[in-house]
């Protein structure tokens, strides 16, 4: 019913005693997520919303058999937090923190290569699986509803936006993943698309991309070769002037292939229904599903 995250996931919250960490630990827990512990050095023995706090990820894993974590620590400490989670053997690490230097992520990407771990983010909203009542993320749960759509986005708020439109159109979601807007992220579109494509419970896929980089072109190649499920796509930044950085460091148009236009064309050629209007993502998906049924 979901990828990466489900009702059996045993989630840790790294940085649980911080403002964001404690707030979202509560929200994730309220959604139904099986949060088994939190980590903040020096705070072992405390509780946050009934969740026990540990000094180290190792100690938390030993006490709770956690197998996943979500990270809220400040950027200068995020690399270490990821390292600690991976070394402790967690299989899913979601790094919400934004502002990591690119060089840190170049190293982290190389570091996790070949390891049995999935890193989502950094600078991402995380993952939500409405049917599983599981959320390792900061997305407003009210925009989502259970269903069979696989939704993936580089942008956080566009993920919510697209989900809300889907939900409004009656299209529930199996899993929604925000992979993060940085130039180097732990998991790329293709990794998520593969999982959606291989999951028989996912019946349709929506992809929300951005200008900059080549992740959408790589996604289009994969889709063209592999995906036969109904799919729609939107790319943000069609109106952005070239060469300026639009918040996400990845979104600098540095060549033809990085433009919204070329990305949309690639995805369209791969068989996805594409739209240039971010307010109509849900509508496009609904029409696509209606035409198929």
């Amino acid at each position: 019913m979901s990828i990466l995250l489900n009702r059996n996931t045993r989630l840790l919250v790294q940085g649980i005693t911080g403002a964001e960490g404690s707030n979202h630990a509560r929200l994730c827990k309220a959604f139904g997520t099986n949060i088994v512990g939190g980590v903040t050095p020096g705070r072992a023995g405390q509780e946050v919303d009934g969740i026990p706090v540990f000094n180290t990820v190792d100690q938390a894993v030993a006490a709770t058999q956690a197998n996943a974590s979500i990270i809220f620590v400040p950027a200068p400490f995020a690399t270490d937090a990821i390292y600690e989670a991976v070394e402790a053997g967690l299989k899913l690490v979601v790094c919400i923190t934004d502002g990591l230097p690119t060089w840190e992520m170049v190293k982290v990407k190389r570091y996790i290569s070949g390891k049995d771990v999935v890193l989502i983010g950094p600078n991402c909203p995380g993952i939500i699986s409405p049917p599983e009542k599981a959320k390792a993320g900061i997305m407003p749960a009210s925009s989502f509803m259970p269903g069979k759509l696989g939704l993936v986005s580089r942008s956080g708020t566009l993920l919510y936006e697209a989900a809300a439109q889907m939900t409004a159109a009656g299209i529930g979601q199996s899993t929604a993943v925000g992979i993060g807007g940085d130039p180097v992220v732990g998991t790329d579109f293709v990794d998520i698309l593969k999982r959606f494509n291989d999951d028989p419970d996912v019946e349709a896929i929506a992809l929300i991309g951005e200008i900059g980089g080549v992740a959408e072109q790589e996604a289009a190649e994969y889709v063209k070769a592999n995906v036969r499920k109904p799919m729609c796509a939107f790319i943000a930044g069609a109106s952005a002037p070239p060469g300026r950085r639009m918040g996400h460091a990845g979104a600098i148009i540095s060549g033809d292939s990085a433009t919204a236009d070329s990305k949309l064309k690639a995805l369209s050629a791969a068989g996805a229904a594409v739209t240039r209007n971010p307010a109509e993502i849900g509508k496009v998906m609904a029409e696509l599903l209606a035409s198929r049924s």
């Binding site: 190389r110 936006e161 069609a238 952005a240 209007n277």
Partner: protein, 388 residues
Amino acid sequence: MKVHEYQAKAILAEFGVAVPRSRAASTPAEARAAAAELGGRVVVKAQVHAGGRGKAGGVKLVNTPEEAEAFAKGLLGTRLVTHQTGPEGALVPMVLVEEALSVARELYISILVDSVSKTNVIMASEAGGMEIEEVAAATPEKILKEWVDPLMGYQASIGRALAYGMHLDGGLIRQAADLIEGLYRAFIARDCSIVEVNPLVVTEDGRLLAADAKINFDDNAMYRQKAVAALRDTTQEDPLEVEATTTGVNNYIKLSGNIGCVVNGAGLAMATLDTISLFGGAAANFLDIGTVNNVDRVISAMRILTKDPDVKAIYFNIFGGMARVDVIAQGLVDSYKQLDVKVPLVTRLTGNGLEEGRRILAENGIAVIEASDMADGARKAVAAAAGR
């Protein structure tokens, strides 16, 4: 973050990169003294954060200290207009006075993160002196690429491969390898996002020198690069963009339209601009207000927008997530108290804190044009900016 050529060269020189002898000058007299020290025959280069200086008249080969002084006098304090600056041009706060080189060949080297392999790539080309984008378009086979494994770091074979690939030989191989290693060490040690040497010059007397140098830095790493951060020259930036960064509104970019936008999330902000464009309008700015934890950042954003004479309407598109709608609403209320907001305000609010946010706006009598979704908001913002 960008720095001037003279600063980039100083950084590279720290890492052993060979650069021409030069002196930065902020007055015509300093330029004359520098030229005299360098032997009279020098190149004087306007220091601005933009390319295209040569064609714009910002670079000149002179033969005497007096000529250097005269040329510097005509540049310093003026605004240089290049194809990269826009019509307003860029202030010239300094000139670089540099030894004149007898150029035998012009090459190209740059280092950046490859978006495909997600690791650092060193690009080199024999076609130096022209924009690398043009080389890539016309003769892609002339661009050599070597990737650097982040674990192993720079290895001498990388520089050799590029040096031989550029058809250097003899002592230039070693010079090139050393120079490329220095560039790479600087790239890592200073958290650069791009290091570009164009042209990399082979002189008639067999020296290899970084004749021009451009460095951009990774903004996310400035917390650990205090010395680099101190090199920031705000004269080279839009004043509103400077105000934005100094008041915590980190993702503001001035654009050429008339609808001031405040959005949370970079992707949604881009999409908002796209929607405005779809309805025939144009945004006055990109502004990702990010995760709003207090109202001050909203006020700062509103202050910037009210200072921008181009702004004829303001459009708030907020999807409450980590940022909460009620905090945004309170910020708007306080903004109307503190600032003289004269233009219409269109709001599209949804997500976490929506009900409370609506209540706050209503109770405080803030007149907003409410939008039901982001298309509706864009349509209404375009109409409001047009006075309709």
